[in-house]
């Protein structure tokens, strides 16, 4: 309902009573400012946590093997454990509906040579899904695909820094490099947010590596991305089950962590999630406390303001104002002041957060403190509602005072 006359009345009343409007606005602005800063700083903390885990996909899991530490079924301690394609396929078939991405990994250190430039780099032989598990960003060309796997192609995807080392500023795509005596075609260049080490990696198809290094079916590690529809608890249960099944299948003692273990990001996520949850609970508690203090502040001022205006309301009623029109006027004025003041507080808070920026990242573990649009929307709604309440309760009381009582007030 847009009533120009009503707005005119409100602006006149605000304008003619600037001090009290500014006073009531200030309370709200200050409360929202504190709220914004608090929320921004905590979201900065949360960003720091997230960035720590940002290298790999949030849902990643991997199966690692080493040496047995417990005797089992007549097998001795200290036996080396080797994953093979068999285990890879077992996982793939057994848990198909719980897995989003799956890749094997074979670790090798290789010497890569292009013309006169050569250096040693870490190499991972992988399946195509590995791109998503590692969050590899393809800058040029493409990643390894299923055809490469099938044909055991001698192709390689190199990190941005390998390209810089070997090719400088010249193009690397479709060039051939020499790896341990074989010629490989560069099919892609990638970058990775995980840091320099991740960008000095090279990827080749897992089948090519198996053929090149001993012509076997060994793999070093199985990497998985669990189905993101699984809850954290279900994902953790899945990891534990897979661990048990694989140990049983490979004749490993059920409790032998050293021989075979499944590392599950779901567990870490759960820990961080719980920590952030508690942190947010605290913030919501303190933040809403601040907001409530602000609301109480404006309510107090509104009570005072309305007391001061009781006589005016009495006059208006004698002239034919309905109680609802008095209440409406006061509430609208109060909502207007809270919204504007709250918006100012919010803007100031956001501005301060942007000034602080990343200067707190080192030492205070706060990265990119900011408030999300949802929080801004939420705070705005809270403001409008609090303006409504702050105005409505005292206005309703004032409007119900009998006109003669109101007229007698001074």
């Amino acid at each position: 309902m847009f009533d120009l006359d009503r707005w005119r009345e409100i602006f006149q009343s605000i304008n003619k009573n600037r001090l009290r409007s500014v006073m009531s606005g200030f309370t709200v602005a200050f409360a929202i400012l504190l709220f914004t800063l608090l929320f921004g700083i905590v979201s900065g903390l949360s960003n720091s946590f997230k960035s720590v885990f940002n290298d790999d996909a949030q849902n990643s899991m991997f199966v690692r093997v080493w040496k047995t530490s417990k005797p089992y079924k007549g097998l001795q301690t200290g036996r080396g454990v080797q994953l093979r394609n068999e285990e890879y396929n077992f996982v793939k078939e057994e848990y198909a509906n719980k897995i989003q991405y799956q890749s094997a990994r074979i670790y090798k250190n290789v010497s890569i040579k292009y013309k006169s430039n050569a250096d040693n780099y870490a190499l991972r032989a992988v399946h195509p899904d590995h791109q998503f598990l590692e969050k590899t960003i393809i800058d040029e060309g493409r990643y390894i695909n299923n055809r490469d796997l099938k044909e055991k192609s001698k192709v390689i995807v190199i990190g941005r820094l390998i390209k810089r080392d070997l090719f400088g500023k010249k193009p690397a795509l479709s060039k051939r490099v020499n790896i341990n005596g074989s010629s490989f075609l560069i099919i892609g260049v990638f970058s990775d947010e995980g840091g320099d080490n991740e960008e000095r990696q090279a990827y080749m198809p897992v089948t090519t590596a198996q053929m090149m290094y001993g012509n076997n079916d060994y793999i070093s590690q199985i990497n998985l991305g669990y189905n993101p529809n699984l809850s954290l608890d279900a994902a953790i249960a899945f990891g534990n089950k897979m661990e048990r099944d694989l140990r049983q299948k490979m004749n490993i003692h059920p409790d032998d962590q050293s021989a075979l273990s499944v590392r599950n990001m779901a567990e870490a996520n759960k820990g961080v999630g719980q920590f952030m949850f508690v942190l947010y609970l605290i913030v919501i508690f303190v933040g809403s406390g601040t907001l409530i203090a602000g609301i109480i502040g404006i309510s107090n001022i509104m009570i005072f303001v309305i007391k001061e205006r009781t006589k005016e309301f009495g006059i208006r009623k004698a002239l034919g104002a309905k109680p609802s029109s008095i209440v409406g006027m006061v509430v609208q004025e109060s909502v207007l002041i809270t919204t504007i003041a709250g918006y100012l507080g919010l803007s100031l808070g956001t501005y301060i957060l942007s000034l602080i920026g990343n200067s707190l990242e080192e030492g205070y573990f706060i990265k990119d403190p900011s408030v999300s649009p949802e929080i801004v929307m939420g705070a705005t709604i809270v403001l409008i509602i609090s303006g409504l309440i702050a105005g409505y309760v005292p206005a309703k009381r004032a409007a119900n005072i009998k006109p003669i009582v109101a007229l007698r007030a001074d």
Partner: protein
């Protein structure tokens, strides 16, 4: 226009109650110029408040414009006040942050008239009370008599059936009192019912009918020689 039968009103004072109006019968016809006289505590202000729908009575019947006033809620009362009644108070009761023109236009705002129209009408009424040149002044820039004339213009602007004036000259000196009374007489001559409350004999004598109140009952009801 106004018909009151056996009207009673009492106010609670602590545990007791103060019986202010003890059975008032009064009939005011359209176009009358009536004054209610009485010392303080006689119940004259209470009577005006009830007639003005600013307060509610306990017992008896009150007909305003042949309509029985009963179980009146604030909203209905507000509509009736706006439609039938105009108020003039002893302390003027102008809104301090509004100009004379805006004060006069306010009842029209509650009537739902457009801003342009109501300012035009309000200016006509200010002209009628001789304050056209003061239209854009705030109340604190006006003298007492001027304020009361603004208040009278405000009371008239909705073309009410009855103008209720509570000690309209109580805060004014005798010269300005006369000019205010002249204005009320002029309004009455145009056919408006005017209902004045006063404790001053010389004010009451300028009206056409004097009703004397004492301790909550009417002790005399006479036409004056003005008639």
């Amino acid at each position: 226009m106004i018909k009151i039968e056996k009207l009673h009103k009492s106010y609670p004072i602590g545990k007791d109650s103060l019986h202010v109006l003890k059975g008032i019968d009064l009939h005011i016809k359209e176009g009358e110029f009536v004054s209610i006289m009485g010392s303080s505590g006689s119940g004259k202000s209470t009577l005006l408040n009830i007639v003005g729908l600013l307060d509610i009575h306990d017992k008896g019947d009150y007909y305003l414009n042949n309509q029985l006033v009963k179980n009146m809620n604030e909203k209905k009362a507000a509509i009736l006040r706006n439609k039938f009644l105009g108020f003039v108070f002893q302390s003027f009761n102008l809104i301090s942050y509004k100009t004379a023109l805006e004060n006069v236009a306010l009842p029209l705002y509650y009537k739902g008239m457009k801003r342009k129209d109501r300012l035009k009408v309000a200016l006509e009424y200010l002209e009628k009370v001789g304050l056209k040149d003061w239209a854009n002044h705030l109340p604190n820039e006006l003298s007492g008599g001027q304020k009361q004339r603004v208040a009278i213009a405000r009371a008239l602007v909705t073309k009410p059936k009855v103008v209720l004036a509570d000690e309209p000259t109580g805060a004014l000196d005798s010269t300005t009192s006369d000019s205010v009374m002249d204005l009320l007489k002029e309004i009455n001559n145009e056919g408006m019912t005017v209902f004045v409350i006063t404790h001053e004999e010389e004010i009451a004598e300028q009206t056409k009918r004097i009703v004397r109140l004492k301790d909550g009952i009417i002790i005399s009801d006479k036409l004056t020689k003005v008639v």
